[in-house]
């Protein structure tokens, strides 16, 4: 492949310093890629694309008139994270999710953090996903967020920032696992020698978390995954995880509640269910309590849950900690509950609900990124510097009408990784990173994550629903330093 015309421009490039010099942890891959002709590379890319299509590794786009199911575009050039850097991220993520769990426990019981004035009361109560129904409910081991997908970005300075926490039903982990399979097939000789930490144990770790939260410490619980069904954008992932863990995948209609206990219909009759990994939002989970028009949920489930006869992962009500306004307060939570300084920093954030911030936002709409507090997937968002006058005017009205629902952040130039396309060859494209934190008997993070890449030139929106793709994420084992021996590299790259 030809990198001679590659330019890092003014961005932080994950692979290169300046335009020709690869970073040390990328050197081996760089040299291997250089040995590869354009045709060979394309052949590998085609093989991977076909494999994804055949296996049905797809996602669903909402609000789209055309065929809604698409394959998730995958780019072969991985994002590589050196071991030391990963250790820092891991430490920061565990700190963050630990604080979120302590916050949720406090929020649904004593509310000390509110009484002490660290977080204003109105922020919580007006949060759309705050669930009064959870007040005073004890959840197993006081864990609320069992699976957290925290989105990280890297700015022009090369520092990592937390962009948002996804503490409800984060998706994407199946792509992390499938991408790894694909890359192993594409680079069968390079990969085993690259010193990449494995991610394949994610399913085992997840199952361990789910078994850990079984009611009354049941040593042999029945665990199921609850899916909204085939029309959900992440249905592929639900099936995938059920297979990985060897557990049943169920829809709401497959479950029934009797005497505050949950049962699954099987061909042998009803079978008691103890733990539900639910991939269904709170709103839909129980039509007797939340949205009454939900046909996806299980009537009576909330009573069984409140009575402690079934465990849910994630807990109900976690949405109170991951909305974009609450995000602003996470560093304070870390300080309050752990008495530590945040290891990973937030992006500077302005709350439209606060008068001074609102004035600043309205005056600088053309420079800021404005986000709606409760929307995900890149919907309901304004990219000030790239927006038209009409779009800006429209957002101004929205903010004035409902300030609590909006936050703004400065435009961050996301870091880039070389990415191949037919039209542009190899060029820098912006990426983010979503590692998956598992919180059971102790927090664990499988070394890796989903690297999403904005495939459109110049675009910084990485969401799959908005034209994003993904890359494999390599975390190098710490003891595997870069190999400086030119001869060894040479030999390996020939047998890529």
């Amino acid at each position: 492949m030809d990198f001679t015309r590659y330019s890092v421009e003014n961005y932080f490039d994950e692979m290169f310093v300046g335009s020709a010099e690869p970073r040390s942890h990328y050197r081996r891959l760089f040299e291997a890629l250089q040995q590869l002709s354009e045709e060979e590379y394309q052949a590998k890319q085609r093989a991977v694309d076909h494999a994804f299509l055949r296996q049905g590794i797809t996602f669903t786009v909402y609000h789209d008139q055309e065929g809604t199911e698409r394959i998730f575009p995958f780019d072969l050039i991985p994002r590589i994270i050196p071991g030391r850097e990963w250790n820092h991220l891991e430490e920061g993520l565990i700190q963050r999710v630990t604080a979120l769990n302590l916050f949720l426990k406090d929020l649904y019981h004593e509310q000390k953090i509110l009484k002490d004035g660290v977080i204003p009361h109105h922020v919580v109560d007006s949060a759309e996903h705050f669930r009064p129904e959870m007040q005073g409910v004890k959840v197993p081991h006081d864990i609320y967020v069992h699976i957290c997908g925290t989105d990280l970005i890297r700015g022009a300075d090369g520092d990592y920032y937390v962009l948002e926490d996804n503490a409800r039903c984060p998706s994407g982990v199946s792509y992390m696992l499938e991408n790894r399979q694909a890359i192993k097939r594409a680079f069968p000789r390079l990969f085993p020698r690259a010193g990449v930490a494995p991610v394949a144990n994610y399913g085992d770790e997840l199952l361990r978390v789910l078994r850990h939260i079984a009611p009354n410490g049941n040593p042999d619980p029945t665990v199921v995954i609850l899916t909204p069904g085939p029309y959900n954008s992440a249905y592929f992932e639900h099936c995938f995880l059920a297979r990985q863990m060897g557990i049943e995948i169920v829809e709401g209609r497959d479950l029934i509640v009797q005497d505050d206990r949950v049962y699954m219909r099987t061909t042998q009759g009803l079978q008691r269910v103890h733990v539900i990994y639910r991939r269904l939002n709170d709103d839909f989970i129980d039509p007797c309590v939340f949205r009454r028009d939900s046909v996806l949920g299980v009537p009576g489930l909330m009573r069984a849950y409140q009575a402690g006869h079934v465990a849910l992962a994630n807990a109900v009500g976690t949405g109170a900690c991951d909305d974009k306004v609450m995000y602003y307060y996470v560093p304070r939570m870390i300080k309050y509950y752990l008495d530590q300084d945040p290891i990973l920093h937030n992006v500077e954030t302005y709350l439209a609900g606060e008068e001074d911030d609102r004035r600043f936002i309205l005056e600088n709409l053309d420079k800021l990124v404005v986000k709606s507090a409760n929307e995900a997937g890149g919907y309901g968002m304004l990219m000030g510097p790239k927006a038209s006058k009409e779009e800006i005017a429209e957002f101004r009205d929205k903010i004035v009408a409902d300030p609590r629902n909006f936050i703004a952040q400065p435009m961050i130039s996301l870091s880039r990784v070389p990415t191949w396309s037919r039209e542009h060859g190899v060029a820098g494209r912006h990426v983010d990173l979503r590692p998956f934190v598992l919180f059971g008997d102790k927090p664990r993070i499988v070394p890796g994550g989903l690297t999403r890449v904005a495939l459109r030139p110049g675009s910084m929106v990485v969401n799959s629903s908005q034209g994003g793709g993904s890359k494999d994420t390599w975390v190098l084992r710490e003891d595997e330093g870069p190999i400086d021996d030119g001869a060894a590299t040479q030999q390996q790259s020939q047998s890529l």
Binding site: D125, S126, Q135, Q258, P287, P299, R303, Q306, D402
Partner: protein, 294 residues
């Protein structure tokens, strides 16, 4: 005043239903203004009934019927004694801004009752040019009463014109509604002006038997709905915009919440054909108190 209330809900299904699950908020509350002497709940076909108390302090009875049934009948009977509304003469002096200030210091208690919701879209109050009742120096109770009056005068009570999910926008546009809509209107107006208030579900006595040729109160054929406005000192003051009344002895309270969604008397699901016939009959009968023995 002593009342016997009977609330009968009957579902007749076109084909047998199964797996009915429901939550009931039908038990009258016991508080300073009413006392429940007796509450009996029967379900036909019969099923075990469990009970819990929800976030708002309402008693919730719930059950599930896994087997097939052609009809479901829920009968709630209660004997309730009500007392007249407290004398609020002293609170008439409290101004709107004083009340706001006092309540701001107790946000924990009032916050849920200040929020907009799908049923209470406060922004419509400005959009439809509702007069400004709550002026900072004016009396809070007077303002709330004027809002209640305004709704009564500007909307037409017409059973059957709206259903439980009719958006408030439509009510504002067509200027018709039932008690649920009237209550949501008053909630929207008060909350738009940052006055905490809550939705009340319950029953009323249509005719006062002691007054000849009394004009019947609206909303007695089924469950009724009204509003309670928070006054300083932890007082919830009941206003019934559908009847332009201050809530008193002839109102029997079953549940409170932020809006209708929190207090629906019966809420649940069943499996089966969607066609079914629903009948609700509510009777409120005034009893003559028996003189105490001895």
């Amino acid at each position: 005043m002593l009342f016997e209330v009977s609330h009968r809900t009957t579902y007749r299904y076109s084909t047998p239903a199964f797996e009915s699950v429901a939550e009931l908020r039908m038990a009258p509350l016991t508080n300073a203004h009413q006392r429940v002497d007796d509450f009996r709940l029967t379900i036909e076909p019969s099923a075990p009934i469990r009970t819990y108390r929800d976030f708002f302090g309402n008693r919730v009875d719930y059950f599930s019927l896994p087997f097939r049934h052609e009809q479901l009948e829920v009968v709630a009977r209660a004997t309730v004694e009500t007392r007249c509304a407290p004398n609020l003469e002293v609170l008439r002096e409290v101004t709107v801004d004083e009340a706001r200030q006092i309540q701001r210091s107790q946000l924990n208690d009032y916050f849920p009752y200040l929020q907009r919701s799908a049923y209470v879209p406060t922004a419509l109050v400005a959009e439809f040019g509702v007069p400004q009742f709550f002026v900072p120096g004016g009396s809070l109770t007077d303002a709330a009463w004027q809002a209640c009056q305004w709704i009564y005068d500007n909307f037409t009570y017409a059973p059957g014109t709206t259903e439980v999910n009719t958006p408030l926008r439509e009510v504002f546009e067509k200027k018709v509604g039932v008690c649920q809509d009237y209550a949501h209107l008053l909630l929207a107006i008060c909350r738009f002006h940052r006055i905490p208030c809550r939705y009340v579900s319950g029953y009323i006595e249509a005719f006062d038997p002691t007054v000849a040729a009394d004009e019947p109160w609206r909303g007695a054929a089924a469950t009724h709905a009204w509003v309670e406005v928070a006054l300083p000192g932890g007082v919830w003051w009941g206003l019934d915009p559908t009847n332009r009344q201050i809530v008193g002895e002839r109102h029997i309270k079953t549940a409170v919440g932020r809006d209708y969604a929190d207090v629906a008397p019966m809420r649940g699901t069943f499996n089966g054909a969607p066609q079914h016939q629903l009948d609700v009959a509510v009777e409120v009968q005034r009893l003559t108190p028996q003189p105490a023995q001895g």
